[in-house]
C-alpha cells in the first residue's frame, strides 16, 4: 500500500466564535495530488494554511508520516522545511535577488552548504527557464516569473509535500499556463505529493487524483479526479462546475 504522508482527523477551526472549518477528515499518500475546490469563502485557504501551521487550530489531529503533529510553533517551524507552500500573492522578498531568495532558507534554516545549494538552485532555475534572471530583483519580473521563482524557492528546501493556494489567481491569462505547466511536471516527472487550491477547472481536471469539494467549511464530497468533473456526486458541485464556464 502507498505510504501515507499526511492525515487530517476531525479538524475544527474557529475564528473567534465563528467556525471556519467543520470536522475535516482526509489523507494524502505519497505521489498523490489532491485538489481543493469550492466557492469563494468556503474555507479552502483556511484549510491549506492550517496544514502548514499558519493558522492555529484547537480541535482535531494532523498526522505527518503517521506521527501526530504537536501544534506548537517550534514543531511547525521544523515541519515547514518538509512542507513547501506557495501563495497567491507573489511573496518573494523584494529586498533579495532571485538567487538569494532561493538560497535563504536552505542555507540559513537548514544550514546546508551554500555552494551546493547554489548549484542546485541554478539547475532548478534552468528548469523553469529563468536561469538568466538569477541576479534580478523580484520587481524586475512579471507575475508569472515571480510565481515560478516562488515554486523553485519552495522546492530548494527538498519538501516532501507541496501546498499551492491559487498560485495563478493574480496572473495575466497568458502567464497562467507557464506556471501550471511546472506544477504538472512536478506531478508527472517528480511524483511530488501536492495539495492544490485552484480555480482553473481544466487544470484541476487534468492533475487531480482526488478532489475535495468544500462549502461553508465542510467537505461536501471527496471524489477521484476525473470522476468529479464528469459526474459530481452533489447538486452543489454540479452547480459550481456549471457556474465556472459561461
Amino acid at each position: 500500500m502507498a505510504e501515507e504522508i499526511l492525515k487530517v482527523e476531525h479538524l475544527n477551526k474557529f475564528y473567534g466564535d465563528w467556525q471556519a472549518l467543520h470536522d475535516i477528515n482526509f489523507s494524502i499518500n505519497k505521489g498523490e495530488v489532491v485538489t481543493l475546490l469550492g466557492p469563494s469563502g468556503s474555507g479552502k485557504s483556511t484549510l491549506i494554511r492550517t496544514l502548514n501551521g499558519l493558522e492555529p487550530f484547537k480541535d482535531g489531529r494532523i498526522y505527518f508520516h503517521g506521527k501526530q503533529v504537536d501544534p506548537n510553533p517550534k514543531t511547525w517551524q521544523d515541519l515547514r522545511q518538509k512542507i513547501g507552500m506557495v501563495f497567491q500573492s507573489y511573496d518573494l522578498f523584494p529586498n533579495l535577488t532571485v538567487l538569494d531568495n532561493i538560497l535563504l532558507a536552505p542555507v540559513k534554516v537548514q544550514g546546508r552548504d551554500k555552494a551546493a545549494v547554489q548549484k542546485e538552485a541554478l539547475e532548478l532555475l534552468d528548469r523553469v527557464e529563468l536561469r538568466n534572471h538569477a541576479d534580478a530583483y523580484p520587481r524586475e519580473l512579471s507575475g508569472g516569473q515571480k510565481q515560478r521563482i516562488a515554486i523553485v524557492r519552495a522546492l530548494a528546501m527538498h519538501p516532501e509535500l507541496m501546498l499551492f493556494d491559487e498560485v495563478t489567481a493574480s496572473l495575466d491569462p497568458e502567464m497562467v499556463r507557464g506556471v501550471l505547466k511546472i506544477i504538472k511536471e512536478l506531478s508527472d516527472q517528480d511524483h511530488m505529493t501536492m495539495i492544490i487550491v485552484t480555480h482553473e477547472m481544466n487544470f484541476a481536471a487534468k492533475i487531480a487524483d482526488q478532489v475535495l469539494f468544500l462549502e461553508n467549511g465542510r467537505i461536501l464530497e471527496e471524489t477521484p479526479g476525473q470522476q468529479f468533473f464528469d459526474h459530481p456526486q452533489t447538486d452543489r458541485a454540479t452547480e459550481f462546475l456549471n457556474s465556472m464556464d459561461f
Binding site: 499558519l54 515547514r80 507552500m85 500573492s89 511573496d91 529586498n95 532558507a105 540559513k108 534554516v109 524557492r153
Partner: protein, 225 residues
Amino acid sequence: MAHSGINVLFEGTNFLRLMGGLWTAIWIAGLSLILGLALGTILGMFRTMKSRIIRFILRLYLEFFRIVPTVVLLFLVYYILPRQFNVNWPATWMAVLAFTLWVAAEFSDIVRGALESVPEHQRESGLALGLNQWQLFRYVLLPQALRLELPATINLATRVIKTTSLLLMISIMDVINVGQQIIEANNQTYPTGVFWVYGLIFILYFIIDYPLSKWAKHLTAKQQY
C-alpha cells in the same frame, strides 16, 4: 536703509562665530539623531511584541513626548534633572539627552509602523520557509522596514535640525544666540543688523533642511512606483 547693514555679517570674526554657533546646533542634532535612532529602533521592535505591558509602557513614553512641546522638554531636562536627580552635565549634553529621548520616541513609532506595514504575506512566506522569528526579523522584516521608514526618518531629521533653534532658550551658544550677541555688539554701527543676522540664520537653516526634505520627497515618490 538696509543695504549697508549686510556688512555686519563680515565685520571682524562675526561670520566665523555664526558658523561656530551653527556647528554647535548641528553636532547636537547629529549626535541626538544617532543615539535616538538606535534607541528608537529597539523601542520600535519592542512595540511590535505581544506583551501588552511593554507595549503600554512604551506607548505612554511616546505619548508623553507627543504632548510636551520641545521647548518645555528642554526646560524640564535643564531645570529638573540636575536638582531632582543630581545629574550635572553641561547644557549641551542636556540638550542632547532631551533630543535623544524625543527622537527615540518619534522613531519608535516610525519603526513600529514600518514593521507593521510589511505585508502580512511576507511574514507568512518567511514562516512557510521555516524561518524562525529572529531570522524572519533579520532577513525579511527589518530590511524591508528600513527601506519603508527612510523618508520619515529624514523628515524627522529635518525637524530635529529646525528644533535646534530652541537651544538658545537654555543658554546654549547656538547660531541664534551668537547672532543676538552680534546684533547687540554692533547695534550702533549697524542699526539694521538685526535684519541681516536673522536673515542669514533663516537662510542657513533653509540651506541645511531643504535638500534633506527634497531627498525624503524623492524617496517617497519612488516608493509608490
